[in-house]
Symmetry: C2
Subunit: 597 residues, 2 copies
């Protein structure tokens, strides 16, 4: 009950044409078969090495012993299976030992692990992100030293950003880097909420650390990026001397309990060695490169928690007899609860969020592949603009509605849903971190409305509207979709006019007023984008149904059409109320005063 | 940070005229002072005996040892303080040792305990409900035997309804009652999810148990109610022989972890004595009497978790510096996050849910008092009709938006919100049970639309509309409220036309179609009712503000007005989209097929 394979195949090959990537030089060695082989390996390892200890990792969270974090042994076994199958290096060049998989397929593989055990999957996820950062910005020498052990799974990686007084406001971070004659730095400071900041899984940990070189400018323009290893390396590149970065404590969370969340002290004894990555003062830009990838990854994690929760509650609803149809009160035997309309509502909503979320994440991943491998520079640029626009939407929508999906899964299970004998309550707790870490939804809202909407003259938004227009045209040849097509068209008009009104207000009145309700705009864009992806799926379903497929395929496509109907009829219309609120520049929250609470 | 006392005073005395009750004979000995003295006692005990072990009870949930449930000792100490202060008997007659408090004041007292520790408060809450049931339907002899020890806190009570295969569908329960020559019964069966079904707090437990007398009709019409004690009593009424009701196990929940949730076996050894309450086969009706009261109580619990979460996140937002205003990027020092519009949005929403929820619960409690003590029979009848209508709304709206409030509290705290070092994640977990126990939201929706809306020719709904009309008239004299008044009027029209359309559809097409989207109607009624209560509060605020009160009072009333604005501008407009969906008799969920998922 981790993922519906038929759906994954549909999303990859029917919706997003992953197979088309094999025509590009970088992926020329690949085929649908090799993609599917990787997916099948991921599924097997996820089912066999990740899923079985998902509850155990929750119940036995890592312990702080003698200054070290101790995890349950299954975490390490799972990590090794993941690494040995080549998944840390999956998307890297063959010469680095990678499989050279496109990101869309890599994320599809990753989706199995997140569905199986999001806490254990977090360790390789963070390591992949750190290795990407090194790969993009590290010197050739740094890459030669650090990348191989990371990609082979001997070293893990982290992102060390947050400090006690600087979370969303990274420009305020204070960790210092003191230049040394040998070109290295000594790092001094404290970091908090560092996921995977200590563990007993790998031989070493590479903390990709933000710090301020002494004398650097204040704010975001004075931040640099450093490699800070747990163990410094000997001449052969093996872990040797302990570096002066120490585990001050573990944070105890409501979910993701199997992933260590750490408080780290850098340079308590003045001997924490760090190595500058790239140029000084550009660390935040580098980090955001990684962060944007990580945000899509968080989206996949949130989605897959929703997805597995959906499948668990679907299974329960099919097998739990309770009650009778409302027009057959008290007579005859009880029926499986899936036959109650309200239970179907809760399942349909979950289907819309889970499958819609996965479509959204894989769409973003496909855009990423286009930024790196599309034939034409213009195509790559367009993909980048769309991806920049979509990143805050992907991260926040999947997190918000992933939690909502898990909430519905609990509700479908009733009393069983809130007991720890069933897994759905853990999915809910795990997922509740996702609207916060890697940038809160509030930060995503400001990023979307304050930055991405206007970026490059609004190129990303224009590109989205073009693509939506194409789908509306395609839908017009299918009469059963007339209603949905009309709804998406009306939503597009609402989004366009709202965006224009907010841009105008920003020009006329400054950002305080136009950005005050940014989170509403973010939600509106999420509903709009996901509705578009659902209409695209409905168009494919209509095409497929018209060719009279077998019963199983028919059921699949009818389900797609019905979920599209659900989402566009039940959830999309909220955009009109949102448009009204936003266009009125509602000042309810702005006017509120501290003393009035 | 349990409750805002000023708000409680406002709701009791300005909004709901609790003082007016003292003119009635039953409450003639009372005054605002005696009410407030009871509230003050409740606050003190809640703060001193309940709040301090709220986290401990979560971390050390009751254990199953040698067939018994063992709780942390603080639970018993708190219970004793509660009982000794007279709160179990608070609303009962003076001759029973009660304080003869009206229900609205009793619930206001109870609100402190729920805010402090919902798990520990559940034990007396259940005992109050069980004692009410005995008081209403037990014979004089039964009352003489069982009530005093319950009201004094020597015995606790439970509601033993659910069975493994019969939760929402109580008509399917199978527990049997076998008549004995002495007039008692032997009970045989299994119950599950029985809250407080075992504990080490009281000398005895009185299980108010539903069972089917041998030969009784099938379904809901063959269910009777029994007293089934943990210990049978000796001639002096003291616990003596162990009755054959045994603890088979404890359920482990995501929240409310301090409250035992039990699996109970009745009559494994054929010797479980039970005593029939009232007439045979009328047990379900009796139980629903208690259940309806309990549903309001659940509403208070859900609300107070929202309330204390709100106050905690408010305190955090005032004291946590992070970021800068959007029009002052990167310059100057960080500001408290309460100054960010999006944080104020999350606080305003919580304020609207928490204070609006408490207004709703106390309004329902006031209706209850009117059903028992209003002067005129017509007034009592009208109150009963309104209360019947409101019960599913109160239970479901507070639970749904209570969880949502706690979700927002977590979000305000950011990373701190998901760690167990802060209390808000526990509130969220605790509250997640409320949309399920005592009747799921889906069941409440069917109750409202399928039963209560049409009851007595729709008298309850008509009464609500009259009262709303009165508020609209009052609001018309306040120009600053013109916008809100118009919004509530439009919502009223939407609710009225939707109700009419659904009633017509039910007549024409039967219940399957008209009830399919009942949960949407339930949410719509919740938004409408709560908006009405917020507009009433805004009217009171306008009145008060026009008399130029001191700065502190001004701030209080401005907060009320702003929260009303928030709720009616941001949350009420959804009713129009809901009306459209409902009036179209949308069949998306009905049409969905099992095989399509």
């Amino acid at each position: 009950m981790l993922i519906n394979d038929r759906d994954l195949q549909f999303l990859l090959y029917e919706l997003l044409d992953a197979e088309g990537l094999t025509k590009r030089e970088r992926y020329a060695e690949h085929s649908r078969d090799t993609f599917n082989a990787a997916l099948e390996t991921a599924r097997q390892i996820a089912e066999e090495q990740f899923a079985p200890h998902n509850r155990k990792g929750d119940e036995h969270e890592p312990e702080f012993r003698d200054g070290k974090a101790v995890t349950i042994p299954e975490t390490k076994t799972a990590w090794r299976a993941f690494a040995e199958a080549g998944f840390i290096a999956a998307h890297h060049d063959a010469e680095l030992g990678g499989m050279q998989l496109p990101t869309i397929v890599q994320q599809a593989c990753q989706s199995h692990f997140f569905a199986a055990n999001v806490s254990t999957a977090a360790y390789p996820f963070l390591t992949i992100a750190a290795s990407n950062l090194l790969h993009a910005h590290g010197s050739p020498e740094q890459q030669a030293v650090w990348l191989p052990p990371m990609l082979e799974g001997r070293f893990a990686g982290t992102m060390a950003l947050t400090e006690p007084h600087a979370g969303s406001s990274l420009g305020d971070l204070r960790t210092r880097a003191i230049p040394q004659p040998d070109g290295s730095y000594r790092i001094v400071g404290n970091k908090i909420y560092i996921s995977g900041g200590d563990q007993d899984i790998t031989d070493n940990i590479v903390h990709m650390t933000l710090a301020r070189i002494e004398g650097a400018p204040d704010g975001v323009k004075g931040i640099s990026l450093f490699i800070v290893p747990k163990f410094r390396l000997d001449a052969d590149g093996n872990p040797a001397e302990r570096n002066d970065v120490t585990l001050a404590g573990l944070l105890h969370k409501m979910g993701y309990r199997g992933t260590t969340s750490t408080v780290l002290n850098f340079g308590d004894h003045g001997d924490c060695h760090g190595y500058l990555v790239g140029e000084p003062h550009k660390g935040l830009a580098y980090m955001f490169h990684m962060m944007n990838e990580a945000r899509i990854g968080v989206g996949v994690g949130a989605t897959m928690l929703a997805y597995t929760g959906y499948l668990h509650s679907l299974d329960f609803a099919r097998n739990r007899p309770q009650g009778r149809p409302v027009d057959r009160k008290g007579e005859g035997g009880q029926i499986p609860i899936i036959q109650h309309a309200d239970v179907r509502r809760m399942l349909l909503a979950q289907k819309a969020y889970a499958e819609g979320g996965l479509a959204l994440c894989l769409y973003a991943s496909r855009l990423f592949d286009d930024t790196t491998s599309a034939a034409e520079p213009a195509e790559r640029e367009r993909a980048q603009q769309l991806l920049d626009l979509m990143t805050p939407v992907v991260k926040s929508w999947t997190a918000e509605y992933g939690v909502k999906a898990n909430d519905l899964a609990i509700q479908v299970l009733g009393g069983s849903g809130y007991t720890r004998d069933y897994p759905v309550e853990q999915f809910y707790r795990d997922n509740r971190l996702n609207p916060i870490h890697e940038g809160t939804n509030g930060i995503q809202a400001l990023d979307l409305l304050g930055r991405k909407m206007g970026q490059a003259g609004g190129a990303g938004f224009k590109a989205l509207l073009e693509d939506v227009g194409r789908t509306l045209a395609e839908a017009s040849s299918h009469r059963p979709l007339a209603d949905l097509r009309e709804r998406l068209g009306a939503a597009r008009d609402a989004v366009v006019s709202t965006a224009a009104a907010l841009a105008e207000a920003g020009r006329a009145q400054g950002p305080a007023r136009s950005l005050a309700n940014a989170s509403v705009f973010l939600d509106m864009m999420g509903r709009f984008t996901v509705s578009w992806l659902w209409l695209r799926q409905a168009v494919l379903a209509e095409n497929a149904l018209s060719s009279s497929p077998d019963a199983q395929a028919q059921a699949f496509y009818q389900g797609k059409r019905q979920a599209a109907r659900y989402y566009l009829r039940w959830e999309l219309p909220a955009v009109h109320q949102q448009a009204e609120l936003l266009k009125s520049l509602d000042d309810t929250t702005l006017e509120m005063r501290d003393a009035w609470f």
